[in-house]
């Protein structure tokens, strides 16, 4: 007789999931939804652990963002010949969003390698690791977001109902970053060079992506900027934050990336799911 605390997870697996179980990646993702407790616990625990003996803890992130936007904002607004009251909120939003996006992409290269001891010793679905990574960075984003709202209130940037559109924008962005993290994590687990490649390339992207500027600052090359996927990632949240709805093509590109990205990632995940425990 099974013990009263025995979770029927594996019974569900053998009966209902038999048709899905041929697709190891999809089965893995379905099981990941059942592990929401593990994901939330590990994300919060990692954030707390990082600042265990520090006094300010996660407020350091907030201070960093505040310092960055104050320091750069006023001088660079002159450089770009834009009014400081519009530029500083733009810059702050850009910095916060870039920290979120580039943090996720850079950490996803070592996503599975860092959790090697859990992957090799516990039978948990692999997709909990990208989910946990996203949640951890969303928590950090929550620490940084107040800086933007303080700056916006202080400098009179419009905070209307349109600003609330930032939330569905953030949701779309998160769903896209989720497949990206899983994809890069899988490749990074197999080819260790990816870690160094991404670390080298991200600072370059920071400069050419609309972090410190907006696409409409460029008199001639605005349409070229939109070929950069990071522009879409940043602007879908930044447009509402600064008081206007994002252009429809940004949303369309996000949805297209969602479909294509998840399709490719699930294909790769199905194929390579069983190999990851050997790679790490």
């Amino acid at each position: 007789m099974p013990s009263p605390l025995s979770r029927p997870t594996n019974d569900i697996y053998t009966t209902l999931m038999l048709p899905i179980s041929r697709f190891a990646g999809i089965a893995d993702i379905v099981q990941t939804f059942q592990c929401y407790r593990i994901i939330t616990f590990m994300a919060f625990s990692d954030v707390k652990a990082r600042y265990k003996r520090s006094v300010l803890g996660p407020l350091w992130l907030t201070l960093g963002t505040a310092g960055g936007s104050a320091g750069l904002g006023f001088i660079w607004s002159e450089l770009f010949r834009v009014d400081a009251t519009t530029f500083v909120p733009t810059l702050t939003a850009g910095l916060i969003l870039w920290q979120f996006i580039s943090g996720i992409i850079t950490e996803s290269t070592v996503l599975f390698s860092r959790q090697a001891s859990i992957i090799r010793n516990l039978s948990l679905p692999l997709a909990i690791h990208p989910a946990q990574l996203l949640l951890r960075h969303l928590i950090n984003l929550a620490h940084n977001a107040p800086v933007f709202f303080i700056v916006a209130l202080a400098l009179g940037s419009p905070l209307t109902l349109t600003t609330l559109l930032a939330l569905p924008g953030l949701l779309l962005l998160t769903l896209n970053l989720l497949w990206l993290a899983l994809f890069i994590g899988l490749i990074g687990a197999r080819f260790r060079d990816i870690e160094y490649l991404v670390a080298m390339v991200m600072p370059l992207f920071m400069l050419i992506s609309p972090v410190f500027f907006r696409p409409n600052y460029l008199p001639f090359s605005e349409h070229i900027i939109w070929f950069n996927p990071f522009s879409h990632f940043i602007e879908i949240v930044r447009f509402p934050l600064l008081g206007s709805t994002p252009p429809i093509f940004v949303v369309e590109i996000h949805l297209a990336m969602l479909v294509v990205g998840w399709g490719v990632t699930l294909w790769l995940f199905n194929r390579q799911h069983h190999r990851v425990a050997f790679w790490v």
């Binding site: 007789m1 099974p2 013990s3 605390l5 025995s6 979770r7 997870t9 594996n10 019974d11 053998t14 190891a24 407790r37 593990i38 616990f41 590990m42 625990s45 652990a49 265990k52 001891s117 859990i118 992957i119 090799r120 010793n121 516990l122 039978s123 948990l124 799911h273 069983h274 425990a277 050997f278």
Partner: protein
């Protein structure tokens, strides 16, 4: 095959074949097939590199076989590698929660079991200190205590009892016997044949990836 490969083949565990280019194929488990049910306590013995840890991990669902099926029913708890699932910066209490969550328990369930784990490990005030201050024996006790407290249906243990002292061995034996009575499957890999004889009622021997079920007398 070269002389070097011949020598390597004699002294290591699995079979190494196919030195085509740079890829070495290691057959860690070869045509292994068996059935376990509630009440089985399996002792897994074999030389270094025979495939014991690989077999335990395949049973747990960490490694997936390239052919064949692993059919498993019930909750699995593993004690395979020292410190797996532990965060050494966190205290003993925090790690009890962390490992419990990773093994599938809820916070309320873990909290209700913390006292039992405390009593079993007998680590006392050390539970408030970060795990990096523990000796390997203490860390093993903690891991083993949490793994068995999750009331698993299947418990897989790999050679960790070496670092436990005599008192711990006694408590572990009692715990294990209680666990087996609550009708579950227990698989224990070890080089210590005495321990294996004590805890187990079926015995498997692994040799270069090949499994053979043997009698208690043949150990």
């Amino acid at each position: 095959m070269s002389l070097r490969n011949q020598l390597v083949r004699i002294s290591t565990g699995g079979r190494i074949e196919n030195e085509a280019g740079q890829i070495h194929v290691v057959t860690a488990l070869n045509e292994v097939s068996f059935k376990l049910q509630d009440g089985d306590a399996i002792g897994l013995i074999g030389h270094n590199g025979a495939g014991k840890s690989t077999l335990l991990r395949t049973m747990a669902g960490v490694y997936h076989p390239v052919s064949g099926n692993v059919i498993r029913q019930g909750r699995v708890a593993t004690v395979l590698e020292l410190g797996a699932g532990m965060d050494t910066e966190l205290s003993g209490y925090e790690n009890i929660i962390r490992m419990g969550i990773l093994m599938g328990l809820s916070l309320t369930e873990i909290r209700s079991k913390t006292e039992e784990v405390e009593n079993f490990t007998q680590l006392g005030d050390f539970l408030q200190l970060p795990v990096r201050t523990y000796s390997s024996g203490m860390a093993t006790r903690l891991m083993f205590a949490v793994a068995t407290s999750t009331e698993p249906d299947i418990l897989l243990v790999d050679e960790v009892f070496g670092t436990g002292d005599a008192e711990f061995q006694i408590k572990a034996k009692e715990r294990m016997e209680a666990l087996i009575k609550s009708v579950g499957i227990f698989v224990f890999a070890s080089h210590n044949h005495e321990l294996v004889r004590q805890y187990c009622n079926r015995f498997f021997r692994l040799e270069h990836g090949n499994l053979l079920e043997i009698d208690a007398n043949a150990i």
